[in-house]
Point group: C2
Protein backbone atom coordinates (compact mmCIF):
# COMPACT_ATOMS: atom_id res chain seq x y z
CA UNK A 1 0.00 0.00 0.00
CA UNK A 2 0.87 3.67 0.12
CA UNK A 3 2.23 4.08 -3.37
CA UNK A 4 4.65 6.92 -4.02
CA UNK A 5 3.06 10.15 -5.11
CA UNK A 6 4.13 12.43 -7.90
CA UNK A 7 2.31 15.61 -6.87
CA UNK A 8 -0.53 17.19 -4.92
CA UNK A 9 -0.28 14.84 -1.96
CA UNK A 10 -1.15 17.01 1.02
CA UNK A 11 0.64 14.56 3.26
CA UNK A 12 -2.33 13.66 5.37
CA UNK A 13 -1.67 9.98 5.30
CA UNK A 14 -4.35 9.49 2.74
CA UNK A 15 -2.12 7.71 0.30
CA UNK A 16 -2.31 8.04 -3.44
CA UNK A 17 -5.85 9.30 -3.61
CA UNK A 18 -5.26 11.23 -6.80
CA UNK A 19 -4.04 8.08 -8.41
CA UNK A 20 -6.92 6.11 -7.01
CA UNK A 21 -9.41 8.58 -8.41
CA UNK A 22 -7.69 8.78 -11.74
CA UNK A 23 -7.39 5.04 -12.08
CA UNK A 24 -11.13 4.84 -11.63
CA UNK A 25 -11.82 7.49 -14.23
CA UNK A 26 -12.85 10.02 -11.60
CA UNK A 27 -11.77 13.64 -11.56
CA UNK A 28 -9.94 15.60 -8.99
CA UNK A 29 -12.08 18.49 -7.88
CA UNK A 30 -11.73 21.09 -5.13
CA UNK A 31 -14.70 19.54 -3.35
CA UNK A 32 -13.12 16.11 -3.27
CA UNK A 33 -9.81 17.58 -2.22
CA UNK A 34 -11.47 19.49 0.59
CA UNK A 35 -13.44 16.44 1.67
CA UNK A 36 -10.30 14.39 1.93
CA UNK A 37 -8.58 17.09 3.93
CA UNK A 38 -11.58 17.44 6.19
CA UNK A 39 -11.57 13.74 6.97
CA UNK A 40 -7.87 13.81 7.60
CA UNK A 41 -8.27 16.74 9.97
CA UNK A 42 -11.12 15.07 11.81
CA UNK A 43 -8.88 12.01 11.97
CA UNK A 44 -11.29 9.69 13.61
CA UNK A 45 -14.84 8.71 12.93
CA UNK A 46 -16.86 11.54 11.47
CA UNK A 47 -20.41 11.71 10.25
CA UNK A 48 -21.22 13.09 6.83
CA UNK A 49 -22.55 16.20 8.49
CA UNK A 50 -19.40 16.79 10.51
CA UNK A 51 -17.37 16.32 7.38
CA UNK A 52 -19.59 18.73 5.49
CA UNK A 53 -19.21 21.36 8.16
CA UNK A 54 -15.45 21.04 7.99
CA UNK A 55 -15.44 21.12 4.20
CA UNK A 56 -17.42 24.34 4.24
CA UNK A 57 -14.71 26.12 6.16
CA UNK A 58 -12.77 25.99 2.93
CA UNK A 59 -15.54 25.84 0.37
CA UNK A 60 -18.58 27.40 1.99
CA UNK A 61 -21.07 26.47 -0.71
CA UNK A 62 -20.51 22.73 -0.86
CA UNK A 63 -23.84 20.97 -0.67
CA UNK A 64 -24.79 17.99 1.41
CA UNK A 65 -25.45 15.92 -1.66
CA UNK A 66 -21.98 16.59 -2.97
CA UNK A 67 -20.51 15.48 0.32
CA UNK A 68 -22.52 12.27 0.23
CA UNK A 69 -21.64 11.64 -3.39
CA UNK A 70 -18.00 12.40 -2.73
CA UNK A 71 -17.88 10.09 0.25
CA UNK A 72 -19.45 7.44 -1.90
CA UNK A 73 -16.90 7.88 -4.64
CA UNK A 74 -13.97 7.91 -2.26
CA UNK A 75 -15.25 4.79 -0.61
CA UNK A 76 -15.74 3.08 -3.93
CA UNK A 77 -12.14 3.70 -4.91
CA UNK A 78 -10.97 2.48 -1.53
CA UNK A 79 -9.78 5.74 0.00
CA UNK A 80 -12.09 5.50 2.97
CA UNK A 81 -14.92 3.48 4.43
CA UNK A 82 -17.84 3.85 6.76
CA UNK A 83 -19.26 2.02 9.72
CA UNK A 84 -22.53 1.97 11.65
CA UNK A 85 -22.26 2.67 15.32
CA UNK A 86 -25.87 2.35 16.33
CA UNK A 87 -29.04 4.29 15.62
CA UNK A 88 -27.22 7.39 14.57
CA UNK A 89 -25.64 8.43 11.32
CA UNK A 90 -22.88 6.35 9.80
CA UNK A 91 -19.32 7.43 10.40
CA UNK A 92 -16.55 7.62 7.85
CA UNK A 93 -12.87 7.07 8.33
CA UNK A 94 -9.75 6.94 6.27
CA UNK A 95 -8.43 3.64 5.08
CA UNK A 96 -9.78 0.31 4.06
CA UNK A 97 -12.39 -1.66 5.92
CA UNK A 98 -11.55 -4.53 8.16
CA UNK A 99 -8.71 -3.07 10.16
CA UNK A 100 -10.49 -2.41 13.40
CA UNK A 101 -13.87 -2.75 14.95
CA UNK A 102 -16.01 -0.83 17.35
CA UNK A 103 -17.53 -1.39 20.73
CA UNK A 104 -20.23 1.21 21.27
CA UNK A 105 -22.03 1.93 24.50
CA UNK A 106 -25.74 2.19 23.84
CA UNK A 107 -26.22 4.41 26.84
CA UNK A 108 -23.45 7.00 26.79
CA UNK A 109 -22.30 6.53 23.24
CA UNK A 110 -18.73 5.82 24.24
CA UNK A 111 -16.75 4.35 21.37
CA UNK A 112 -13.89 1.94 21.82
CA UNK A 113 -11.83 0.67 18.95
CA UNK A 114 -10.43 -2.81 19.20
CA UNK A 115 -8.14 -4.73 16.92
CA UNK A 116 -9.69 -7.07 14.42
CA UNK A 117 -7.97 -9.91 16.22
CA UNK A 118 -10.31 -9.54 19.17
CA UNK A 119 -13.25 -10.93 17.27
CA UNK A 120 -11.31 -13.41 15.19
CA UNK A 121 -11.97 -16.34 17.46
CA UNK A 122 -15.67 -15.70 17.69
CA UNK A 123 -15.93 -15.09 13.97
CA UNK A 124 -14.25 -18.41 13.39
CA UNK A 125 -16.74 -20.14 15.61
CA UNK A 126 -19.67 -18.61 13.74
CA UNK A 127 -18.10 -19.69 10.51
CA UNK A 128 -17.57 -23.25 11.66
CA UNK A 129 -20.94 -23.68 13.30
CA UNK A 130 -23.18 -21.77 10.92
CA UNK A 131 -21.15 -21.06 7.82
CA UNK A 132 -21.71 -17.42 8.69
CA UNK A 133 -18.95 -14.95 7.88
CA UNK A 134 -19.43 -12.22 10.46
CA UNK A 135 -18.18 -8.75 9.70
CA UNK A 136 -17.66 -6.77 12.86
CA UNK A 137 -16.04 -3.85 11.12
CA UNK A 138 -19.08 -2.55 9.30
CA UNK A 139 -21.60 -2.80 12.11
CA UNK A 140 -20.42 -2.11 15.61
CA UNK A 141 -20.82 -4.36 18.60
CA UNK A 142 -23.36 -2.62 20.82
CA UNK A 143 -23.63 -2.92 24.55
CA UNK A 144 -22.70 -1.09 27.72
CA UNK A 145 -19.34 0.31 28.60
CA UNK A 146 -17.79 -0.44 31.95
CA UNK A 147 -18.96 2.68 33.73
CA UNK A 148 -22.52 2.56 32.44
CA UNK A 149 -22.78 -1.10 33.35
CA UNK A 150 -21.52 -0.28 36.83
CA UNK A 151 -23.92 2.62 37.19
CA UNK A 152 -26.92 0.45 36.37
CA UNK A 153 -26.25 -2.95 37.86
CA UNK A 154 -27.79 -5.82 35.93
CA UNK A 155 -31.54 -5.60 36.38
CA UNK A 156 -32.45 -8.79 34.55
CA UNK A 157 -34.88 -8.36 31.71
CA UNK A 158 -34.70 -4.60 31.64
CA UNK A 159 -33.98 -3.92 28.01
CA UNK A 160 -31.38 -1.18 28.19
CA UNK A 161 -33.36 1.66 29.75
CA UNK A 162 -34.30 4.50 27.46
CA UNK A 163 -32.26 7.54 28.17
CA UNK A 164 -31.47 11.00 26.93
CA UNK A 165 -31.59 11.30 23.17
CA UNK A 166 -31.37 7.56 22.84
CA UNK A 167 -34.34 6.77 20.68
CA UNK A 168 -34.22 3.10 19.94
Amino acid sequence: MRAKRASHDPGHGLGDVDGLLRSHGLRRTPQRQATLEAIAELSGHATAEQIAERVRRRLPTVSASTVYRTLGSLERVGALCHAHLGHTASVYHVGRAGLHQHLVCERCGALREVEASVTAGFAGELRRRFGFHANFTHFAVLGECRSCAARRPRSPGTPAGRRRGARH
Copy 2:
Protein backbone atom coordinates in the same frame (compact mmCIF):
# COMPACT_ATOMS: atom_id res chain seq x y z
CA MET B 1 -43.81 -17.34 32.20
CA ARG B 2 -47.27 -17.59 30.67
CA ALA B 3 -49.27 -16.35 33.65
CA LYS B 4 -52.82 -17.54 33.91
CA ARG B 5 -55.39 -15.20 32.46
CA ALA B 6 -58.80 -14.29 33.77
CA SER B 7 -60.34 -13.07 30.55
CA HIS B 8 -59.77 -11.71 27.07
CA ASP B 9 -56.67 -13.77 26.41
CA PRO B 10 -56.85 -14.59 22.73
CA GLY B 11 -54.49 -17.46 23.36
CA HIS B 12 -51.76 -16.22 21.11
CA GLY B 13 -49.00 -16.90 23.56
CA LEU B 14 -48.79 -13.27 24.44
CA GLY B 15 -49.21 -13.87 28.12
CA ASP B 16 -51.04 -11.57 30.46
CA VAL B 17 -50.83 -8.47 28.32
CA ASP B 18 -54.02 -7.04 29.69
CA GLY B 19 -52.62 -7.31 33.16
CA LEU B 20 -49.34 -5.85 32.03
CA LEU B 21 -51.07 -2.87 30.50
CA ARG B 22 -53.33 -2.37 33.47
CA SER B 23 -50.52 -2.65 35.96
CA HIS B 24 -48.77 0.16 34.10
CA GLY B 25 -51.83 2.36 34.11
CA LEU B 26 -52.38 1.83 30.42
CA ARG B 27 -55.71 1.14 28.81
CA ARG B 28 -56.88 -1.70 26.68
CA THR B 29 -57.99 -0.38 23.34
CA PRO B 30 -59.06 -2.03 20.10
CA GLN B 31 -55.91 -0.72 18.44
CA ARG B 32 -53.65 -2.29 21.01
CA GLN B 33 -55.60 -5.50 20.89
CA ALA B 34 -55.33 -5.61 17.12
CA THR B 35 -51.63 -4.81 17.27
CA LEU B 36 -51.00 -7.68 19.62
CA GLU B 37 -52.98 -10.05 17.47
CA ALA B 38 -51.17 -8.86 14.37
CA ILE B 39 -47.81 -9.54 15.93
CA ALA B 40 -48.93 -12.93 17.09
CA GLU B 41 -50.14 -13.77 13.60
CA LEU B 42 -46.93 -12.58 12.02
CA SER B 43 -45.17 -14.69 14.64
CA GLY B 44 -41.65 -13.80 13.71
CA HIS B 45 -39.84 -10.58 13.18
CA ALA B 46 -42.07 -7.92 11.71
CA THR B 47 -41.45 -4.30 10.89
CA ALA B 48 -43.78 -1.61 12.13
CA GLU B 49 -45.12 -1.27 8.63
CA GLN B 50 -45.86 -4.97 8.28
CA ILE B 51 -47.61 -4.88 11.61
CA ALA B 52 -49.58 -1.82 10.58
CA GLU B 53 -50.71 -3.51 7.40
CA ARG B 54 -51.91 -6.49 9.38
CA VAL B 55 -53.63 -4.33 11.95
CA ARG B 56 -55.53 -2.51 9.23
CA ARG B 57 -57.13 -5.72 8.09
CA ARG B 58 -59.16 -5.48 11.27
CA LEU B 59 -59.14 -1.75 11.90
CA PRO B 60 -58.60 -0.09 8.55
CA THR B 61 -58.09 3.43 9.84
CA VAL B 62 -55.29 2.82 12.32
CA SER B 63 -52.55 5.32 11.70
CA ALA B 64 -48.84 4.72 11.53
CA SER B 65 -48.26 6.90 14.55
CA THR B 66 -50.64 4.83 16.61
CA VAL B 67 -48.83 1.69 15.60
CA TYR B 68 -45.51 3.18 16.61
CA ARG B 69 -46.91 4.49 19.87
CA THR B 70 -48.58 1.17 20.57
CA LEU B 71 -45.43 -0.77 19.87
CA GLY B 72 -43.59 1.58 22.19
CA SER B 73 -46.12 1.08 24.96
CA LEU B 74 -46.16 -2.67 24.58
CA GLU B 75 -42.41 -2.76 24.64
CA ARG B 76 -42.27 -0.56 27.71
CA VAL B 77 -44.54 -2.92 29.62
CA GLY B 78 -42.48 -5.88 28.50
CA ALA B 79 -44.92 -7.51 26.11
CA LEU B 80 -42.57 -7.34 23.17
CA CYS B 81 -39.26 -5.98 22.05
CA HIS B 82 -37.47 -4.90 18.92
CA ALA B 83 -34.14 -5.52 17.28
CA HIS B 84 -32.09 -3.92 14.53
CA LEU B 85 -31.13 -6.17 11.68
CA GLY B 86 -29.12 -3.76 9.58
CA HIS B 87 -29.86 -0.65 7.57
CA THR B 88 -33.53 -1.38 7.36
CA ALA B 89 -36.39 -0.78 9.73
CA SER B 90 -36.36 -2.33 13.17
CA VAL B 91 -38.27 -5.53 13.70
CA TYR B 92 -40.55 -6.34 16.59
CA HIS B 93 -41.22 -9.67 18.19
CA VAL B 94 -43.16 -11.04 21.09
CA GLY B 95 -41.46 -11.66 24.38
CA ARG B 96 -38.68 -10.14 26.36
CA ALA B 97 -35.28 -9.21 25.01
CA GLY B 98 -32.24 -11.37 25.44
CA LEU B 99 -33.61 -14.75 24.45
CA HIS B 100 -32.07 -15.08 21.05
CA GLN B 101 -29.87 -13.19 18.68
CA HIS B 102 -29.63 -12.68 14.97
CA LEU B 103 -27.13 -13.37 12.25
CA VAL B 104 -28.05 -11.29 9.22
CA CYS B 105 -26.57 -11.59 5.78
CA GLU B 106 -25.75 -8.15 4.44
CA ARG B 107 -26.08 -9.32 0.90
CA CYS B 108 -29.23 -11.40 0.67
CA GLY B 109 -30.83 -10.38 3.94
CA ALA B 110 -31.09 -13.93 5.21
CA LEU B 111 -31.86 -14.02 8.89
CA ARG B 112 -30.70 -16.75 11.21
CA GLU B 113 -31.66 -16.92 14.84
CA VAL B 114 -29.20 -18.43 17.23
CA GLU B 115 -29.45 -19.14 20.92
CA ALA B 116 -28.06 -16.58 23.31
CA SER B 117 -25.56 -19.19 24.43
CA VAL B 118 -23.73 -18.91 21.12
CA THR B 119 -22.35 -15.50 21.93
CA ALA B 120 -21.91 -16.07 25.63
CA GLY B 121 -18.26 -16.99 25.41
CA PHE B 122 -17.35 -14.05 23.27
CA ALA B 123 -19.40 -11.69 25.42
CA GLY B 124 -17.52 -12.96 28.44
CA GLU B 125 -14.23 -12.25 26.76
CA LEU B 126 -15.25 -8.69 25.93
CA ARG B 127 -16.34 -8.22 29.50
CA ARG B 128 -13.11 -9.52 30.93
CA ARG B 129 -10.82 -7.71 28.56
CA PHE B 130 -12.62 -4.40 28.17
CA GLY B 131 -15.31 -4.27 30.80
CA PHE B 132 -17.71 -4.09 27.89
CA HIS B 133 -21.09 -5.76 28.26
CA ALA B 134 -22.02 -6.66 24.72
CA ASN B 135 -25.67 -7.04 23.83
CA PHE B 136 -26.10 -9.14 20.73
CA THR B 137 -29.86 -9.31 21.01
CA HIS B 138 -30.64 -5.70 20.21
CA PHE B 139 -28.28 -5.24 17.29
CA ALA B 140 -27.74 -8.14 14.98
CA VAL B 141 -24.44 -9.62 13.96
CA LEU B 142 -23.99 -8.69 10.32
CA GLY B 143 -21.98 -10.60 7.77
CA GLU B 144 -22.45 -13.03 4.94
CA CYS B 145 -24.42 -16.21 4.99
CA ARG B 146 -22.90 -19.43 3.75
CA SER B 147 -24.27 -19.28 0.24
CA CYS B 148 -23.44 -15.64 -0.36
CA ALA B 149 -19.94 -16.16 0.96
CA ALA B 150 -19.54 -19.12 -1.37
CA ARG B 151 -20.88 -17.19 -4.31
CA ARG B 152 -18.39 -14.39 -3.82
CA PRO B 153 -15.16 -16.04 -2.69
CA ARG B 154 -13.05 -13.90 -0.40
CA SER B 155 -11.56 -11.10 -2.42
CA PRO B 156 -9.44 -9.56 0.31
CA GLY B 157 -10.07 -5.89 0.96
CA THR B 158 -13.24 -5.72 -1.04
CA PRO B 159 -15.67 -4.22 1.42
CA ALA B 160 -18.80 -6.28 0.90
CA GLY B 161 -19.68 -5.46 -2.68
CA ARG B 162 -22.66 -3.24 -3.25
CA ARG B 163 -25.55 -5.12 -4.67
CA ARG B 164 -29.20 -4.87 -5.48
CA GLY B 165 -31.15 -2.65 -3.16
CA ALA B 166 -28.43 -2.85 -0.56
CA ARG B 167 -27.70 0.78 0.09
CA HIS B 168 -25.09 0.97 2.79
